[in-house]
């Protein structure tokens, strides 16, 4: 766990049991076993994990929505399990399923929630900023997924919180709305808000997060800034070079055996599409290029791919994120 400078949320050794479950002969199931994390002011901290990894449970314990079985949580210096309205006024929550009443219309709903705070943000400003005026006369039940997400974000921001929890914020958003929401998240971060993002989308974490915690099976499995995580490479740790993937298109049926060293695997994934992966070196690339020159082959396309967060996730959890 990183050392905190200006933490808004500190979780240490969180344990959460649920049950008793009939499917486990009446025993309790441990869904979170020892998650620890720190979220800083003015940063986006992402919890990345597959569905069922325990990230939403972790965050709901931090929001005071679920009681923890063990461990410690400090949200703005207070225990969220014991927190009163004073703490809740300083924390904004956007739930994955929105949590908005289906019969409500957007603007009266936002005005109602704004009334719960002593100094709420201007409803009109938020409505304009998030494009809610386009659908302000439609009841929540008739809104599209993306419109609901934008309204839920407005509802989370109406109290102008110091800490903002976002659970899968880009779910259901069209590319334009996604950009709108991402820009706003960037500005909120710049304005000093501590943002905690839970997502199973690598791209969201890669684009938004200053620091990422990867959670799997209720535990921390890796953490770091996005560049740190991308450099983290099991092959490097074993003293070998970087794993890289070279993807190219060339005439089908090439016999590349012997062109590249044995530790590089070359696969023709479909006719004319090749993937070479392993600890590629500049010399390997030169050998391949020389072979192409000797055989008068010009690749149709060629790309050398760095590791993505998805590769990191696969390495640390041994399974696909989805």
């Amino acid at each position: 766990m990183r050392s905190p400078e200006s933490p808004v949320l500190t979780i240490s050794g969180l344990i959460k049991d649920v049950g008793p479950l009939a499917s486990l002969d009446g025993k309790m199931l441990r869904v979170v076993s020892g998650v620890s994390l720190v979220a800083e002011r003015g940063q986006v901290t992402a919890l990345l994990g597959a569905n069922g990894a325990g990230k939403t449970t972790t965050i709901e314990c931090a929001q005071g929505l679920q009681k923890r079985t063990g461990g410690n949580i400090s949200l703005l210096g207070q225990d969220p399990g014991q927190a009163g309205a004073g703490l809740r006024a300083r924390v904004g929550v956007m739930l994955q399923d929105g949590g908005l009443p289906p019969s409500a219309r957007p603007i009266p709903l936002l005005r109602h929630i704004a009334g719960m705070y002593s100094r709420p943000r201007s409803v009109d400003d938020l409505v304009q900023r998030l494009g809610i005026d386009d659908f302000s006369r439609t009841s929540v039940r008739r809104l599209s997924g993306g419109q609901k997400q934008r309204l839920a974000l407005a509802a989370a921001l109406i109290g102008n919180p110091e800490v903002l929890f976002l659970d899968e914020p880009s779910a259901g958003l069209d590319p334009h709305s996604r950009q709108l929401v991402f820009d706003l998240i960037g500005e909120l971060r710049h304005a000093g808000m501590g943002i905690i993002l839970t997502t199973h989308l690598m791209d969201d974490a890669q684009r938004l997060a200053d620091y990422v915690y990867i959670i799997d099976a209720g535990r921390n499995v890796a953490e770091g800034t996005v560049p740190q995580l991308l450099q983290r490479d099991p092959v490097v740790e074993e003293g070998l070079e970087h794993v890289r993937t070279l993807v190219f298109e060339a005439p089908a049926g090439l016999h590349l055996a012997g062109v590249l060293p044995a530790n590089i695997t070359v696969t023709e994934t479909r006719a004319g599409s090749y993937v070479a992966s392993g600890p590629l070196t500049p010399a390997d690339l030169a050998s391949l290029a020389s072979w192409w020159a000797a055989h008068n082959i010009m690749p149709g396309s060629l790309s050398l791919q760095a590791r993505s967060l998805e590769d990191v996730f696969l390495d640390v959890s041994g399974k696909d994120i989805r």
Binding site: R88, L95, P101, N160
Partner: protein, 266 residues
């Protein structure tokens, strides 16, 4: 949509220092939620049928049929207290139970409990909304019943309204218990079915004396029977049925404790 930058802090104090957010007062939060829930209930057509139309139809039905003959000075004098009790069950148990069940399904309870309103404010707001709608129901029933010849004793109003609120408390607790423990579709089925069963056979509009002997001994211990009997005592004779009041209190405490223990917020 504009791209105006987001301001850096929630607000500034007179001295220019950034100030952190604070909640509106507890009373304001509860009043706001009560108003919001009341308007939601009153805008719901099905809810209005259950809360106003069906009780008024039952009132007219009981005054033109001989079911209540011989129990009091006039049919309407016997019928109105039971109809008021039915109103309490409609709003506090069936209406509020169904609304809460679906709020739970859609995550509304979870979201609102993360705002300064919190769980306590949310429940207080619901109780307030039940009281507001019940007040409107009492007014409507009274306005319809007086021209039909209803003559309650003046001394009956105070105990009658007190017992009506106690009955609403018992039914609110029962409604929350159902809404918080089973799926919303099951809440819908259970609360509607019980509304019909208790309305007809639960001693609420038809006094226990007119029910089969087997049912009589059970009905007086049900919240419906206790509230029906207590309101008839108050609005027909101006007296307080202490036994029935204790039964209602016991239901409120037991159902309230069970709801606190077993209510699932998500």
């Amino acid at each position: 949509m504009t791209n105006a930058p987001y301001p850096a802090s929630a607000g500034t104090s007179a001295a220019g220092k950034p100030t952190s957010q604070s909640p509106a007062s507890l009373a304001r939060r509860i009043l706001l939620q009560g108003r919001y829930e009341s308007l939601t209930m009153l805008r719901n057509g099905e809810q209005l049928i259950l809360a106003v139309v069906l009780p008024l139809l039952a009132l007219v039905g009981l005054t033109v049929t001989p079911f209540l003959d011989g129990l009091g000075a006039s049919r309407i004098n016997v019928a109105v207290p039971g109809i008021l009790a039915l109103c309490a069950m409609s709003t506090a148990f069936t209406g509020q139970g169904i609304a809460t069940g679906f709020d739970r399904r859609y995550g509304v309870l979870r979201f609102l409990s993360t705002t300064p309103l919190g769980r306590t404010g949310l429940i207080a707001g619901k109780v307030l909304a039940v009281l507001v709608v019940l007040c409107l129901q009492v007014m409507v029933v009274t306005l319809v019943a007086l021209p039909l010849g209803w003559q309650p004793p003046a001394s009956g109003w105070l105990p009658g309204l007190f017992l009506l609120v106690l009955g609403a408390a018992a039914f609110t607790a029962l409604g929350l218990l159902v809404a918080g423990t089973v799926r919303p579709e099951a809440t819908l089925a259970i609360t509607n079915l019980l509304w019909i069963l208790l309305g007809v056979l639960g001693g609420i509009v038809i006094p226990a004396d007119r029910l089969p002997a087997v049912a009589q001994s059970i009905v007086v211990y049900l919240p419906s029977g206790a509230l029906g009997e207590a309101l008839r005592e108050a609005f027909m004779f101006g007296t307080v049925d202490v036994g029935a009041a204790f039964i209602l209190l016991a239901w409120t405490v037991l159902a309230g404790a069970a709801a606190i223990r077993w209510f699932k917020w998500n």
